[in-house]
């Protein structure tokens, strides 16, 4: 076993814990702290097409940088937004973590998720997460979180929170 592979194995449980805690912040509806997990150049991407390659030339359900995330933090739960006058709760389950690429500075890790969202009615979202993480001295920051829904191109109703 090479040093690199050993490094991945040691690292994996810490990375899993990081991604679980990220999902927990969504479960708590704590978008402000959730946003803090992202790098300054961080992106959140929810594609609208299967195996979508391009967020700029093709529509996505969401593709947000930290500035857009800041707007969403301010808008989330806003008393003037008609769509926000309902309880919104979610429950994430994550698993099947596998490392796609790994280096001293960056790691790309894929996982499967199911997110049950209660908003007016209960909806089950499922698919994969692909996290690009930057290693920091004291942990990680998210460079990109890509969420591929198995029904990315279905006739969705409103999606009020990051998945």
């Amino acid at each position: 076993m090479t040093m690199d592979e050993q490094f991945s194995v040691v690292d994996l449980s810490a990375i899993e814990a990081f991604i679980w805690s990220e999902a927990e912040l969504l479960d708590q509806g704590n978008l402000r702290q959730w946003r803090d997990l992202f790098a300054e150049d961080g992106k959140y991407w929810l594609p609208a097409s299967w195996q979508q390659q391009d967020p700029l030339n093709h529509i996505s359900l969401m593709y947000e940088d930290k500035m857009m995330m800041a707007i969403r933090v301010e808008n989330f739960g806003h008393r003037l937004a008609p769509s926000m006058q309902y309880p919104l709760r979610c429950s994430h389950v994550l698993g099947n973590f596998r490392v796609l690429t790994d280096s001293a500075t960056m790691i790309t890790i894929k996982s499967n998720f199911q997110a049950i969202v209660y908003y007016q009615e209960q909806t089950l979202f499922a698919g994969t997460y692909t996290h690009q993480l930057r290693r920091l001295d004291n942990g990680y920051e998210i460079v990109e979180k890509r969420v591929d829904l198995i029904n990315c191109d279905a006739d969705h109703r409103s999606i009020l929170i990051y998945l």
Binding site: L46, A48, S49, L56, N57, H58, I59, S60, L61, M62, Y63, M67, M68, A70, I71, R72, V73, E74, N75, H78, R79, L80, A81, P82, S83, M84, Q85, Q120, D153, A154, D155, H156, R157, S158, I159, L160
Partner: protein, 434 residues
């Protein structure tokens, strides 16, 4: 049908409309029969079927259809129904085929819908089966026509031709295409579908409702301002903020945009100015336009700034940002809204990026604007069942519009566009003849 003409007439008054038009399934059935079968309904864009054999599937009213490019390079719109047992022949949203083959008993059709072969044909000997009889084909809709590549279908052989139907709204389609240095647009990728729990008319009426943005979309306006103000001094205004901010515009801003209504229920807002007027220039675009059109014509093209143009009942277009939204009714309380994005041929990629960004911020189910509209429609659809009152109001600026040729001009926050839609609605619904 249980509604007489008189009963239908009583549903629409000059200043209000009866809630049954939004909630009664029998009215919905009548609309599908008398309105959606007689109006020109948007099908798709020719660039989606660029090559022979290319096809897409969609609906015209409740009718499933296939739009395909046939062997003679003509665009066909066919009922998506096998001439044998009635199965839907094509289920993919888009693709390419040499023939259409029903997967049930193997009847095959040419791209123009004509039945080509049936397996084990000996069974039809000595019956009156005739392979050339159109009743065994995938039948073509009554009429197909296009405006600058935008294909519309009419299920009725009678009525105005497409250009007469479109009237002044064709100028919006023309303007969107003229904004390409090559004078052509093409569809950019798959549409963005968004399922709404409301009657189709609520979505269509909202497009030219300029009294709701400052209320229903106030929160995202506030949130955007707050974040932009927190940026370091001298920061450029992010393009996202340029797009969102006008949704928090004042009543006076929307009034001054004006609302223009015309025959068949169509309307548009803006003209000289709209919510799209203050976007930053994109490098290289002006140069490309002026190289194609010269300075004067370029200025003419870019000075047309329409907000939403509604081609009643199905098609809405934003020329200045190259977005088309299509209403696909499913049931009295269920409507699919498709957003399509168009690339200006010959323009810098950044123009398409802005179109995509706009749609993601405003039209997407995951946006901070669409869900507020979505929720308001849903609230109406639920509460219109209340017997507290059975009427829905539409009297803002009643009687204060001014004729300008075939077009009537009213203040932007007028309900005139809705009243105009119900005048067309009555024309369709009260005509019982088939």
């Amino acid at each position: 049908m249980s509604y007489t003409s008189l009963e239908l007439q009583r549903l629409v008054e000059p200043h209000r409309v009866h809630r049954d038009v939004y909630t009664d399934p029998q009215i919905f059935d009548l609309e599908m029969e008398r309105l959606w079968r007689r109006a020109w309904v948007y099908v798709g864009h020719e660039s989606q079927v660029a090559n022979i054999g290319d096809y897409i599937t969609t609906t015209v009213g409740l009718e499933p259809v296939v739009m395909a490019r046939d062997k003679n390079n003509r665009v066909q719109v066919l009922y998506n129904r096998c001439g044998h047992k009635g199965a839907k022949v094509v289920t993919q949203r888009a693709g390419s085929a040499r023939v259409f083959r029903c997967p049930y008993h193997g009847w095959t059709y040419r791209l123009d819908g004509k039945l080509q072969a049936t397996p084990h044909a000996c069974g039809y000997e000595n019956t009156d089966f005739d392979i050339d009889n159109p009743c065994f084909s995938m039948q073509s809709v009554a009429r197909i026509d296009a405006c600058r590549g935008f294909v519309f279908a009419c299920l009725s052989p009678e009525g105005p031709d497409l250009l007469a139907f479109l009237g002044d709204t064709a100028l919006t389609i023309n303007n969107m295409c003229d904004r390409s240095p090559q004078g052509e647009v093409e569809v950019a990728g798959a549409p963005l579908p968004y399922m709404h729990d409301c009657n189709w008319k609520m979505f269509v009426e909202n497009l030219n409702d300029a009294v709701h943005p400052m209320v229903a979309h106030a929160s995202v306006g506030h949130a955007t301002r707050k974040v932009v103000e927190s940026l370091p001094e001298g920061s450029p205004v992010p393009s996202e903020a340029e797009i969102i901010s006008p949704f928090g515009g004042s009543y006076e801003f929307f009034d001054s945009m004006g609302s223009r209504t015309m025959p068949y229920g169509h309307c548009f807002m803006g003209g000289k100015g709209s919510i799209h007027s203050s976007y930053s220039e994109i490098a290289g675009y002006m140069d490309a336009m002026q190289a194609s059109y010269g300075e004067q014509r370029t200025t003419e093209i870019l000075s047309q700034q329409r907000h939403n143009t509604t081609v009643y009942p199905s098609f809405t277009v934003k020329d200045a940002i190259q977005i088309v939204r299509v209403a696909r009714p499913i049931a009295v309380d269920k409507t699919l809204v498709e957003t399509w994005h168009f690339k200006l041929k010959g323009a810098p990629d950044e123009m398409l990026h802005r179109t995509i960004t706009y749609s993601r911020l405003i039209n997407s189910p995951g946006s901070m604007v669409g869900p507020d509209d979505w929720d308001c429609y849903r609230r109406m659809q639920q509460s219109l069942h209340s017997d507290a009152s059975t009427w829905v109001d539409m009297r803002r600026y009643l009687g204060r519009n001014e004729p300008d040729g075939n077009v009537h001009v009213a203040p932007g926050t007028s309900d005139e566009s809705v009243r105009n839609q119900y005048r067309a609605w009555c024309d369709y619904l009260l005509d019982e003849a088939q």
